[in-house]
Chain length 231, copies 3
């Protein structure tokens, strides 16, 4: 997925980036597997959720820009890393639960890497800047959306604290740097750092996005009346 | 999306058609945003639902016929119009609720435009006539299905009054006109008018499609017994 | 879908294989329509579910490997067979319910055919062996997943008895045979037989895949405490 970025990097940087990309895949796969275990899905379902959560964002991006077959389908390492994460959760779920904080840090790191890589790839395929930023964000959040749809839940990214916005900010840095013809590698690092920083700050200070006020409560049938002041 | 239609039209017709296409996008985006506001989704989720409801039908059609990147991804205006609709609903939701009837009229107009444009584009990409009609229908109804899946609901198009059938009728007119080598523009207008008319009549007279009778009520666990005579 | 297989077969074999492929489509469409009837979806929804359940696996596979337009979109027979199955269920639902056992047998046959055909096609498009096996499995199970997502349920393949594993086993035989340069037709038959046999044995002996143990029941909010020993 980072092949694009690595064109102007040395071999050491290339190895670093591939490592980080697979770490991102691993961490997102952990989140998918953990969600499956909590819902009492069987081991096959857990492995499917691992792979789906880790790769859906990138797969949808690749389909949209016409890069078939998607990297996650043509390179077996994404599958391998996802299955490893799924088995880890399946057998050591209680231990991983105790590591919730480090997992959230890794998750923010994965989000940062994916949004930057997604925007970069969309630019290379000739998309307009604002759509490249959108696809970068989609690469970061797509896996979580697919995971939640399969588990029959409203995607948490639509309700949760600043998550997609952090991904959009990181992708926007990449697109802006490209428009200004800045060197690729430092801009990618800056975008990833911005996304990571925003996400960690949102977790630490419990930032939330606003919800629209509703006047006719009759429309809302899920007890929202007592939450109306939570804005 | 209407580039195909506009090949044999004058500049005035072309502008008209683009305007109508963006109106359709705007109205479908309104429906997505309104659904999100009712479910207490945050502002980001509302904007995502706007874009998804307005563009999913066209995006899936373009992926299926191999027209990548899809128009809604390569042309920023679809995104801009969707975001505008989402912000409108987010800040003036109560006002828009009062305009329910005009919104339904616009929604029928959007459906009419999308089904005709979708069928036309599928024909240009060489699909068989019956599949082009199917893709025209999908272009019209796809956005609503994606919106409902993201909000964790059974797509309303599967339960609601004559909606998809109106889209299929409009798309069929386009395909039939193409098979008979009739001129494109009048046929497109006829198809759109049929779809619009059917949809408005269904709303006014509360037309419903039949539901299959169920004999062993034990299978149905959601209180359908008292609805059995609603057929 | 079996065009690939049929290159080294005689005309009789080719006809047989096409017949079996359409039988698979028909049976999967039956499963989609029956699920829709149980949920009180209208006739249009039933037909949509028929088509979706019968063709989604193959459509997603074709999108992923870049074979656009997908076979189910470019060949009207898949649509025709799906609609026939949907109408059959809609009008003769009680009769079909009584035939549950034969339907399960046909469903296992459809699964066997689809996983083999899917793996074969992915190999022809140059995918790595392990990904071709994965896509073969996806071809078999994708329709059922899409059906359940549209009906707002957690896909049954994630909870149910040995189903996806049977599809994966059948697809793996095809991939292994290809790696060993064995003749295509016998290997395809062996893969289909393995998948069919595993699935029928799982139904007969009620095989289940394991579920991970949960220690902190506070996480699970759907009454899983009393199911903890069901492993």
């Amino acid at each position: 997925m980072f092949a694009v970025l690595s064109l102007d990097m040395g071999a050491a940087m290339k190895t670093l980036v591939l490592t980080l990309d697979l770490i991102g895949t691993f961490v997102f796969a952990l989140s998918g597997a953990a969600a499956g275990v909590r819902r009492r899905v069987d081991i096959f379902g857990v492995l499917v959720l691992s792979f789906v959560a880790a790769t859906s964002g990138g797969i949808v991006r690749d389909l949209l820009i016409g890069a078939t077959p998607p990297a996650a389908i043509s390179d077996w390492r994404y599958l391998g890393v996802s299955l490893l994460a799924g088995l880890t959760i399946f057998f050591w779920h209680p231990t991983v639960e105790r590591l919730r904080t480090p997992v959230q840090v890794f998750d923010a790191a994965g989000l940062a890497l994916f949004c930057v890589a997604g925007a970069q790839k969309a630019l290379v395929f000739g998309l307009e800047p604002e759509m490249a930023a959108l696809l970068g964000m989609l690469t970061g959040i797509g896996g979580g959306i697919a995971r939640d749809v399969l588990l029959n839940e409203v995607p948490s990214v639509m309700r949760a604290d600043v998550y997609a916005v952090a991904a959009l900010a990181g992708a926007t840095v990449v697109v802006a740097g490209d428009a200004l013809s800045l060197p690729t590698a430092p801009v990618a690092c800056a975008g990833a750092a911005l996304c990571f920083g925003l996400r960690m700050a949102a977790l630490r200070y419990d930032w939330q996005l606003p919800v629209a006020p509703i006047q006719d409560a009759g429309e809302a049938n899920d007890g929202t009346a007592d939450r109306r002041d939570s804005r």
